[in-house]
Amino acid sequence: MQDTTDRELVEAAKGGNKQAFGQIVARHQRRIYRVVVHMLRNEAEAEEVTQECFFRAYGALDRFDGRSEPFTWMYRIAVNLSLNMLRARKPRGHATSLDDPKVEGALVERRPSMADPVAQNADRELALALADGMAQLSETLRVTLILVALDGLSHTEASAVLGCPEGTVAWRVHEARKQLKVFLDAKGHELTGTRGER
């Protein structure tokens, strides 16, 4: 079943093959979890939403019309569930704490520089500033930036997830980066190697 495509698995799952759906889950649950963590910045909630995403996807398999890829379709469900979760939360300050999984993940990823305490501190500051900056973006810009810049979706895929034209995705990413840049500048992160605008 390794060579079976997602579409074939979905068709099999539609026919009641739960193992096929289990294969879909095994393929995509890490990516779904990853994007949900970026959106919610809370591991426990992300686990819950990931589980819910696949459960809801299974309940809607008969409405998957095949116009998009199954994984972008599930991304859309995950984004909707994450937004519901965010909107249901009580408003809280957007200051990012050091135990935020987003910051922690960033520091884990950049482990080679950890030997240098100065670099470690700079990394931490930058991760905090970026997380804060992203929290200040509008919901639309933030979600688009997460999908494209952090999760690596192409504009085509992101437009399929968000249901908007690719040009809109490109503009949102552009605008989100611009606002982040202003935010970082205001925070004093005048970093080296700035590529700036081209």
Binding site: F55, A149, L184
Partner: protein, 456 residues
Amino acid sequence: MTERRSVMLPDEAERLLANWAVPEKPPEFWDSAQARLLERIEAHPAERTPDGLLEAPLPLEDEDSESAPASAPRLVEHASPRDSAPRVSVRSATASLPEAASEETSLVDFARSIGPRKPQSSQLDLSAREMLLNATQVRDAAPSVEEPGRTQPRMTAPLRDVSRPVPVVAAATSSVPAPAVSGRKSRILMGLFAAAALFALWFHFQAGVAEPAAQLAKNEEAAHPELVEELRSVSPAPRSAPQGADKIAPEPAAEPQIAVADNLENLKAAGRRDERATKEDFRLGRVASKREATRGGVAVDKADKKGKLAAEEVQLEEGPTVAAAPTANAPTANAPPQVSESAPEKPSRGSAAPPARMKPADSASSDLPEKPSSGAVQAAVASRLSAARSCVSGQKGPSSATVTWDSNGSVKSVSVSGPAAGTPAESCIKSALGAARVKPFSRPSYSVPLTIRPLD
């Protein structure tokens, strides 16, 4: 060579964004999560998912309207104090616009809503212009109504002012086919009111003349359809005025347009882009502006908006150019699915665009590098690597993947070896790396080996 034109964060920040991992879970966690899910599905097999979860998650924002579908709802979350401008006249003017009719809209919002959607607003503009044209010809039939001192300056006004899009604020609400006026100069306003009153009086006493005059206007339209078409089209270049059309008062008619443009300027001044971005947008907007100019559109006040889309279009010029070039693998336009999903975006505006963008084949092939630069490969892979690494999280050792690009820059194949091979992670890695696009090159293909290390 056209570079991707977008704001780039500092290198460290970009690297952090592209490789921003999340704390990973062990494989047992995912196995148990999968098992729990299947149990839940067994327990509640018939639970129906709400339709809302399957719909597009986010509404389009105001700024998205350039590329938004016409039915998209508009957000007002960025409303500025400027939006508290007088609204009454605008609401009356938008009465014929189905999307805007139900909302209270500021002048700025109104201008933005009609600005980018020329095809939809053109009907509105046409009706205003037709009314103006009719009024002109009715006046021609009765030149004695004009004040002698004012007739002469109007004669010199260029016709294109008449043919500009004219807001129907005054024209649509007036029962008399008088030209739209603005309140900038009360003297002119009063003069126009006096002229309108005289005009109405004249109509009242000489109704027998007015009807033939209107009929004359219709006859003129029927006799010279090309002239009417010319008047309807918007052209930045001055043209010779058709008979009688220069006698209309174009200055007052043009002023509301200026007011709307002023609002757009205010919006820009207060707006959400800094000066650098505006300059860049204007620079990028040249492509769109040139197209607008060839169509005779008024592109200047929209150039920055167009620039956003032009950024995408400029970027697109590279892909199709090489795909059309007769290189060794020229037929790779029919690429495998994972390639096509990252292939250059479809030309969203105008299906006739791709042939126009194609460069001559010989110049395209001679410009191509033999192989993609290491920087380009790194950039293409870096944005995808974190997703690929998340595929193998929890596995014991690193896996290897070889990404092979086709000469058109799209991924031809991804082969995976090591612990991930033969597991669900293999297709996950292929999916993640399959969209790592590079710029076109002249070799038939180019391969790069990668090591996919687990995140934890």
